[in-house]
Structures are given as C-alpha cells and as structure tokens.
Subunit: 418 residues, 2 copies
Amino acid sequence: MAEGTLLYAQSGGVTAVINASASAVITEARARKVNVLAARNGILGALREDLIDTTRESAASIRALAHTPGGAFGSCRYKLKSLEIDKAKYDRLLQVFKAHDVRYFLYNGGNDSADTALKVSQLAKTYDYPLTCIGVPKTVDNDLAVTDTCPGFGSAAKYTAVSVREAALDVAAMAETSTKVFVYEAMGRHAGWLAAAAGLAGKHADDAPQIILFPERAYDEAAFLAQVSKVVARVGWCVVVASEGIQYADGRFVADAGGGKDSFGHTQLGGVASYLAGQVKNELGMKVHWTLPDYLQRSARHIASKTDWDQALAVGKAAVQFALKGQNAVMPVIVRTSDAPYRWKIEAAPLTKVANHEKKMPNRFIRRDGYGITAAARTYLEPLIRGEAYPPYARDGLPAYVSLKNVAVKKKLPKWQG
Amino acid sequence: MAEGTLLYAQSGGVTAVINASASAVITEARARKVNVLAARNGILGALREDLIDTTRESAASIRALAHTPGGAFGSCRYKLKSLEIDKAKYDRLLQVFKAHDVRYFLYNGGNDSADTALKVSQLAKTYDYPLTCIGVPKTVDNDLAVTDTCPGFGSAAKYTAVSVREAALDVAAMAETSTKVFVYEAMGRHAGWLAAAAGLAGKHADDAPQIILFPERAYDEAAFLAQVSKVVARVGWCVVVASEGIQYADGRFVADAGGGKDSFGHTQLGGVASYLAGQVKNELGMKVHWTLPDYLQRSARHIASKTDWDQALAVGKAAVQFALKGQNAVMPVIVRTSDAPYRWKIEAAPLTKVANHEKKMPNRFIRRDGYGITAAARTYLEPLIRGEAYPPYARDGLPAYVSLKNVAVKKKLPKWQG
C-alpha cells in the first residue's frame, strides 16, 4: 500500500467527460490501495479544508460517475496568482495537505490549473514536503499546449457537428417558404476549435455549414452578408456557425456590439448569433433563426465522443500511475502517433511546458476564404468525434446519471481566513 | 395491385421523426404494390405538379429515411383558406391528382393540414372524383386534438428533459463562483407542452428545473424574481425553463418585450430566455447563462424517443392501410389504453374532429404554484420519452442520415399560375 493520501481537485468549466477522468482516478487509486479525497468546488475546497471522502462512494457509483456529465465534486473559477502575491494561499494549501497526509495532488483543469499545480510542487520542494503534483488535462476549448487534444473537447465537438447537421436538414426542408438562414453560436472566446468542428457536418461545397466565422479572422460585415446572399442564391438556404469570440478588425468583440437596451431601457445581453441573425434580417430581409446552445454543448454527455471518453479515462488512470511513480510536476498528455488509422498514447509532459501556454488553431486549418475548414483540419478533428459512448438510460427515458454522497472528512485545521 | 397512385405530402414545421412516417408510408405502399409520389415542399409541390417519384429510391434509402430528421421531400408554411376563397387552388390540386391518377392523398401535418385534407376530400366528393384523403399527425407542439400525442413531440420532449438535466449538472458544479441561474427557452407559442416535458428532468423538490414558466399562466415578474431568489438561497443555483409563449397578464408576449435596439440602433431579435436572463442579472445581480436551442430541439434525431419513433412509424403504416381500405377523411391517431404499463394502439379518427381544434394542456398538469408539473403530468408525459432509438453512425462519428434523389415525374399540366 502506497503511503499517504491522494487529493483530486478540478477547477474551471466542467465538461461532458471530466467525471470520467475522476472515475478513472478513483478506480486506479483503489486498485493501488490509495485513499482518494476530492476537494469540494475545486481549489476552494482545498483551501477551506472541505475534502470529500471518496471511500464512502460505492464501486457502482464510481462506475456510474464515468458516464455522468458536469463535475460531481463541484468546480470553481478561482485563479491563484503568483507565489509572491498569493503566498498565504499556497501556504494554506500545503498546511491542508500536511494535515491530511496528502502526498499526491492531482489537479484537473486548463492552463491556469496546470500553473497552480506547478507552483504548489515548487513550494512543496522549497519546504521539503514530499508531494507529487500532477496536472490532468481538461477543457472544451482545446487550447492546452503539448497535448494533441483536451478531454472534453471531442464530445463538445461531436455535439456541435451533429447538431449543425440535424438543424441543417430542418432548414433545408423549410427554406422555400420559411427560414432561409440559420445561425449557430459556438463556444470559443479565443480560438475557433468548436466552430471548426462544426465544419465536420458537411463534406461537399454546398453542405452545411456553408459559412463558419472564426475568431482567428477579422469579422467583415459587408463580406459576410455578401457571402450569405451568395449561398442562399446558390443553395436556397444557408447555415452559419459563428464562434462567440469573433471580432472586428479593430479588436472589438461582435458579441459586445449585440448588446443594447431593450424597450424598458434594460441592458440586453448580447450574443453573436442574435446579432448576426439581426443583421441578416435587417440588411438582407431574409427570415432567420438562430441558436445559442451555451452549456448544452459542453454538458451533452448523451452524445459524447467515444474517443474523447476513452481519453478522459486514460488521462485519469495515467495521472495516478505517474503520481505513484513519483513523476512530479507532469501532466499526462495525449500523443497522436497516427492519423489513419487514428492511434494515440499517453505520455508525461512537464507542467512547465503546459502552464500558461495557449494552443492556437493553426492557420492551415482555415480555408483561404476564411469561411470553412481545410482537409488538414478534418484530418485532425475527425478522429476526435469518432465513436459513440452512450450513457445507460433508466426506464423513465432519462440517462442514469449518478449523484454522489459527497461526505466531507473531519476538519483538522482552523477555519481558512481567505 | 391497388388502382391509382398515392400522393404523400408534409407541411408545416418538420420534426426528428416525420421522415419515419414517410418511410413507413412508402414501405407499406410498396408492400401493397402501390406507387408513391411525394409532393416537393409540401402542398406547394402538389399545386405546382412538382411530384417526386419515390420509386427511384432504393429500399436501403427508404430504410435510412426512417432514422433521418428534417423533411426529406421538403415542407412549407402555406395555408389553404376556405373552399370559397381558395377554390382555384383546391381545383388545381384535384387537376393534378387526376393527371397523375392520384387516388390516395396522405397529408402529414398539424391542425391546418388536417383541415386541408378534409376540404380536399369534400371537393373530390362534389366532383365525384374517387379520392381517399388521410391526415397523418405530426407536430412537436403536441396540440392536435383526439390523438393522445403527436409524433415529433416525444422526441423533442426527450431532448428537452435530457438537455435540462445535463445543463443542471453543469450549473450545480459551477454555482459557487460562477453561474447561479440558467434559463432554457422551450418551443411552444400557445401551449407549454415542451416546457412541461422539461419537468421530467427532476424528481425531487429541489431538482432542476426548479422553475417552469408556462404560457398557460400569466407571467408575473416580481413573483418570478422572488422565486428565483428563494431557490438560489435554498439550493445554491436555479434552472428556469421558459416557454417561448409566456405572456403578461395583459396578453403581451414577454418575448416581444425582449426585443429592442442595439447600440447601432438596429432592432434586436427578442427572446424569452434572453429577456429573463437580463432581468435576473439586472434585478438580482446574479451571474446568469441562458440557452435558446431553437431548431435543435425539433431536429435532434440523435436523442429521439423510441416511443415517439414507433408511433411515427405506426401512423405512417396505418395511414396507408386506412387509405387502401377506403376510409376517407380520417387520421390515424394514437389511443392510450394504459398508463402503467404504457400501452397504445392506432385508431382512425374523423378529420372533422381533428381539423381546427387545439389540444390545450390540462389545468391539472400544472402545479398549484404555477412553477412545475404535477404527478398527473408525469403520468402522461413520461412514457412519451421512454426508450432510445439511436440512428446508425458512420465511421466519421456522424449519424448516417440519407439524402434522397428526389427526382420529379414528368409534368402533364400547364404551369400553375398561383
């Protein structure tokens, strides 16, 4: 039996498969006779010493966790700053770890979380406290460096491509007398990965989505509207997928332009799809519909990608294995070894290479006209949405998602004055 | 071999399973050696003599049609008025029918379509033209009279309940430091059937959705905001499902209140969820997210209800059987014979009882406080979302939806001057 306890925490936005990583962490740790605590609501739970005792959960619950979306232990948006500025918080973390004999800290998240895990490992070394810190990759934004992709992205990408294909069939059927243009708003403030994934819905020139708007390209309204007109003239209808982060050439977000005052003088919440739909209606006089899937796209476990799910499980399992081998300050990353057939493996990457780096979408993934994806993008994206990983359903027609007991262990320290 | 040709047309909004009915119509007709023509883009195709020859489609395509969303022959929003006002159009329809020896007219749609089918049957009788007219039920709005439910509704209902449950898990995980209130906008301009279906996502008092806003209840903003505050205080977060058709006590649509001018003076497209989210943010100061699934909810074949799919197939098959038996001016409707276990059968209902009637949601389905559904509503709704009917997926991770050839037969009449 390994010495000490393993603490698992996840921070930032949750995904359809982050719980699969958690399930794999707990399953692997149980097999190695290591107790797992989970911080409630991410790093905040660690600071507050609010630590969930996962040994209270049945094996069946931990298995069901693997097909449950959301974040079963909670998450948070709470960024630790530098060791200098937030020294007291890092010190508190180490006190909590010591109090509960935490020797392995697994932190599931994006760039910021990788950075926090790295800083904690550095401080532990300074204090000579034996701690192995592992980052576990996760984000629907697919913007983590080094790793081929991030668990969570593939499932959101599959949701996007499937939804766009289905909505397009609806629009195509109705276009003659009803909606001619449909606008789909995809997540992605800084990079158009999910908007690009929508491109997988179409194979031929006139398939939907006929127009994708990427944050990597300046939004030119006149050019966009001209393109919509051209597509409608040729195809009879047009599906537009817009990344929430698209900007004008001067850097203003289009989503901000969408905001305004309603008839009561209240501030309207903006939105790219709503704005673009309004412009199509006002400037082109075409009937338009639009959708903002918002959280539905990142929580849609019912249409998860099997590739994504497998990778979420694999990084969870590898994280425990790396931890127990003492591979400090690393992250299990996905390495693609072959496109066709698609093959991948897990390797350990130093957190220094992941923290605070951002993976941009390569220029060669965007078609020259700026409105679609290239063959290279398809080669990269397509394997990530491959395969289905349906959750089991109960008799009532709903997925059988689990609720954990989430019982905290007894606190040993004074209350955190954070 | 039966005499004459069968003409199939579908009008109004399409659904995830309307093609299943079409597939069943063609399959049953082929078994009975009856040729099927399909009007392109609904009744417009019939008026224009734009008739698709379904015999050109392979058996495999017709099988695949059963799992393809949208409307493969196209649809339209085009309402025929009374026999007096639109006499020329009804006459044209009969001319087209005669020219192509159409003896069976199957019209798939909602109230309006049932009314059109009825009128065509009356006119044929007047002219002594042997024609059997059958309505085929369809609508995600679930507002057709007589039938227990409408094919298309169950799948949209399942999409709604599953999506709300999944999004709620996301919100619950993030609520402490991020989004506290999530607003989901459901289709339903006149009746809150889909909003009610969202209620299936929760079993206990504090499960999401904690608040449902029905068009059957006047929207009281102060009461709504107070309820949101109460739920957030108790649960920590709140999921609101709002029917697009909610109205103030004076009859104004809340969705219209949502519209306004953006910062450029452009008209903003309104929306209930956007408006409610804005009010929660402005009045309660809570972080809020919202979603407008729009067409995604009615085209989501990937999460179709097995019950719904079975019923869509059954009404298609029965429509052909009724037609060949000469049961004129009827609609195959779904009759529920038992709640538990859920049992149903198909019967023929006179179109006179379906046309121009609207099924309202019973008062006893809405909880006394107006914010949720009752046990009676669950008993009715739950069987309708039961079972999964996944489409097959291709190697590329996308559903294998079919595109038909849709080749028209040769025209025999002068061009329609409609």
